[in-house]
């Protein structure tokens, strides 16, 4: 019995150390890469002063083309949107951006009605992408606050990186091995942080037009407002086109560019995303609205 317990203990500890060392190594390589937006911002973007940054989920990522905005407005911007994220993660991205010592005059916040109306903030599907930056207090705090279910693998990954690396092995571990060889590879976004869908329509099912009377319930929105105010950043709200849906916003102090209903139907990729041609259409319309606001 004693022999068994000792051996299990020794092998257990050795395995645990080895597995954590491998996870730590993988995290190290990933942290030096530009694979996901947090690593890209840290390692691939030397600029520290921006005229604007775009924050949002997949709609922000694929609707506004910062290259076009820069060329039309003569600005310098960056798209920091991440797919499968929500307001909570957009706040985190801004906090992280500021923690790196970078500055911006404007934040263009691409919103969705369902996100604004959601009163509960949880960990988002792609928040693991910040794991390489877990020693940054804003990231650590985010995981402490929102990773509360089950084993809370991200929460404890600061000390045991095996947890996060193992749980998200397809998303972190194997890509980390890849980035050891190709550190400049980016995961589906260009050098300005943009991504576009192709021009073919994917899954647009005709439906009756409707209007969403929006009331903002998401507490992360107030956090975004406060953060922008504290850093003298102008907050611009942008509502991207939705297939046969019109969004009506409540009055507020921010400038709202509501383009929920401007896009011709054949330029939708799916009910909430636009095609490549649709992206150009939307970005030019957005610039036009900006100019009118100025």
């Amino acid at each position: 019995m004693q022999k068994f317990v000792i051996k299990i203990g020794i092998y257990g500890v050795l395995s645990f150390v080895l597995l954590n060392a491998i996870a730590f190594g993988a995290l190290f390589f990933l942290g030096k890469s530009q694979l996901y937006k947090p690593q890209f911002l840290k390692n691939g973007v030397p600029t520290t002063q921006f005229d604007y940054i775009v924050l949002g989920s997949s709609t922000g990522l694929t609707t506004l083309d910062t290259k076009t905005i820069d060329s039309v407005m003569q600005w310098n911007g960056l798209n920091l949107s991440m797919d499968d994220s929500s307001l909570n993660s957009h706040v985190l991205m801004l906090e992280y951006f500021l923690s790196l010592g970078k500055k911006t005059d404007k934040v263009i916040l691409c919103v969705t009605p369902w996100d604004l109306q959601n009163p509960t903030n949880t960990l988002n599907d792609n928040d693991y992408r910040f794991l390489t930056e877990i020693n940054n207090p804003v990231i650590y705090q985010h995981y402490q606050t929102y990773d509360t279910k089950g084993l809370a693998v991200l929460k404890y990954s600061k000390y045991f990186p095996l947890l996060g690396m193992s749980y998200y092995n397809n998303e972190l571990f194997f890509p980390a091995l890849f980035t050891a060889v190709q550190p400049n590879k980016r995961n589906r976004f260009d050098e300005k942080g943009n991504y576009t869908y192709p021009n073919a329509q994917n899954a647009v099912v005709p439906k009756e037009p409707n209007t969403i009377q929006l009331s903002i319930k998401n507490p992360a929105f107030q956090r975004m407002q406060a953060l922008c105010e504290a850093h003298q950043i102008e907050l611009l709200i942008y509502q991207s086109p939705l297939y046969r849906q019109t969004v009506q916003f409540p009055d507020g102090k921010e400038t709202i560019i509501n383009h929920s209903a401007i896009l011709p139907e054949d330029l939708f990729y799916d009910p909430i995303h636009v095609t490549s041609v649709g992206r150009t259409f939307c970005t030019l319309a957005f610039c036009e609205a900006l100019k009118n606001n100025e």
Binding site: M1, S15, L19, M165, S166, Y167, N169, F174, R188
Partner: protein
């Protein structure tokens, strides 16, 4: 409670420490601990269904004692009938009630008669098919005078509910497992070390092989018409490895955990995908169930005695019952029937024992193994499909050979990576098992390098995010 869950990670060491350190050398206290732990383990899923296990245990315990007391044949038959009725009645109600009602209504509808059938919202208690068969083996063996009944309710209840194998087997015989509860258990290093190896091997099969394959299998079987022949062929093979990894993985973990507590459970799988014909496959696949049916159904029916026609009847009955045991769906019955048909030529040609004795493999065996694996895979389509029509659509689309495109598996980087991981996992599993087969081993054995390699694979290739329940829980 799932073996691959956080709760179990805390539960197992706690029970282990109490068992070997606190209640060391106290047989009765150890058995009580195992019983309580087993009830907690089962009740974690739904404590209400504990009442079914307790009821079944109480009835069979009482029947066992009464059988010992009486020599009168009619009374003994009555007692056995009570045990069979109670156990199979519960199983029938929870598992098959709706199926029979619906089939009755459908049968009349097919000849134009509209019937009203009332189906019930019944939750199937996890593992009911397993523990029912296990406890039945007890009363049947006592009835046959092959086993002495136990006087200890604790021992018997601990045998019925023994948590490592309670919900998905192996289905233990009372004659094999129950006496182990009477004997003082002494901790043996080799036994416990072998148990840890089995747990690691089983975990690899479950979280690396089965759960990664499941990611692709589920959407393919949901809508087979949307996939190319090539994708369906890969989906079929992936399911073969999913169900094998899932079920045999559970058995390995169960056997491994039992070894940690000083118990030996029967081997449930002997590398079945290296079978050279269907008869050999059934001697290597879910051995505890096939031998249960052999001993308690097939042999009482006459077995392989009598004319060929008589033998054929028995074989068909055994495969149909085996299919039906898996679930209340025509797909399982057809799966059983298909295996019976595949067994038929072997029986008629007296070849069903050809590969039984031979453990040596020649080049011709590679062809035989490939053919058997292909046939088993085709049959798995019926097992996995949600309905007969979906199974037929699957096979129709597969045999159309319309396209060998594998686009679904590589539609984006994440899918491609997962696909490659699944293939790699299958290769590792197959190579490891092939080595054991060539070494003429019947059970897994891992040296320290393999153990470490599998640990790495579990943590860095395992599907923790897309974790699936064990498939056989539903049976």
């Amino acid at each position: 409670m799932l073996f691959n869950s956080l709760e179990f990670l805390l539960f197992l060491p706690t029970v282990f420490v109490l068992y070997w350190f606190v209640f060391k050398n106290q047989l009765r206290a150890q058995n009580i601990l195992l019983l309580v732990a087993s009830y907690v383990f089962y009740g974690w899923w739904d404590w209400r269904f504990l009442s079914l296990i307790v009821l079944s245990t109480a009835i069979d315990y009482w029947v066992g004692l009464q059988l010992e007391k009486t020599a009168e044949s009619s009374k003994r038959k009555l007692l056995l009938g009570l045990s069979l009725t109670a156990n199979l009645g519960m199983l029938g109600f929870f598992k098959y009630f709706n199926f029979f009602v619906q089939s009755w209504v459908d049968a009349w509808a097919s000849v134009g008669v509209t019937m009203q059938g009332t189906t019930l919202e019944i939750i199937l208690p996890v593992g009911i098919s397993f523990y029912t068969f296990q406890t039945l083996s007890y009363t049947i063996d006592i009835y046959r005078k092959q086993l002495q009944p136990t006087k200890s309710f604790i021992d018997f209840a601990a045998f019925v509910t023994f948590f490592p194998q309670l919900v998905a087997g192996p289905i233990e015989r009372a004659s094999h497992l129950l006496p182990q509860f009477y004997k003082k258990r002494v901790f043996q290093y080799e036994q416990a070390a072998a148990g840890v190896q089995l747990i690691i091997w089983g975990m690899f099969k479950k979280v690396v092989v089965a759960d990664n394959c499941a990611f692709f299998v589920n959407p393919i079987f949901e809508n087979p018409a949307a996939f190319s022949s090539g994708e369906l062929a890969v989906g079929m093979v992936f399911f073969a490895f999913q169900i094998y990894g899932d079920f045999s993985g559970y058995s390995d973990i169960a056997i491994g955990i039992s070894k940690l507590f000083g118990f030996d459970l029967m081997v449930n799988f002997k590398f079945p995908y290296f079978s050279r014909d269907i008869a050999e496959f059934w001697r290597r696949w879910h051995i505890s169930l096939s031998t249960w049916f052999r001993d308690y159904v097939y042999i009482p029916l006459g077995g392989s005695r009598g004319s060929k026609g008589f033998q054929l009847r028995n074989v068909f009955i055994i495969f149909l019952v085996s299919g039906f045991w898996h679930g209340a769906n025509w797909t399982f019955i057809l799966w059983g029937l298909l295996h019976a048909l595949l067994f038929l030529p072997l029986l008629l040609g007296n070849w069903n024992r050809t590969n039984l004795a031979s453990k040596s493999y020649g080049w011709l065996d590679v062809l035989k193994i490939g053919t058997t694996f292909t046939l088993v895979c085709v049959a798995w389509v019926f097992f996995r499909a949600d309905s007969l029509s979906l199974a037929l659509t699957y096979l129709e689309q597969l045999s159309s050979l319309d396209s060998f495109s594998l686009r679904f598996f590589i539609k984006n980087n994440a899918y491609t990576l997962l696909f490659l991981l699944s293939v790699l996992a299958i290769v590792i599993l197959s190579v490891r098992e092939l080595l054991w087969v060539l070494q003429k081993r019947e059970t897994p054995y891992l040296n320290r390098y393999w153990t470490l390699f599998l640990l790495l694979a579990i943590f860095f290739m395992g599907s923790f995010k897309n974790q699936m329940d064990f498939i056989y829980f539903q049976f």
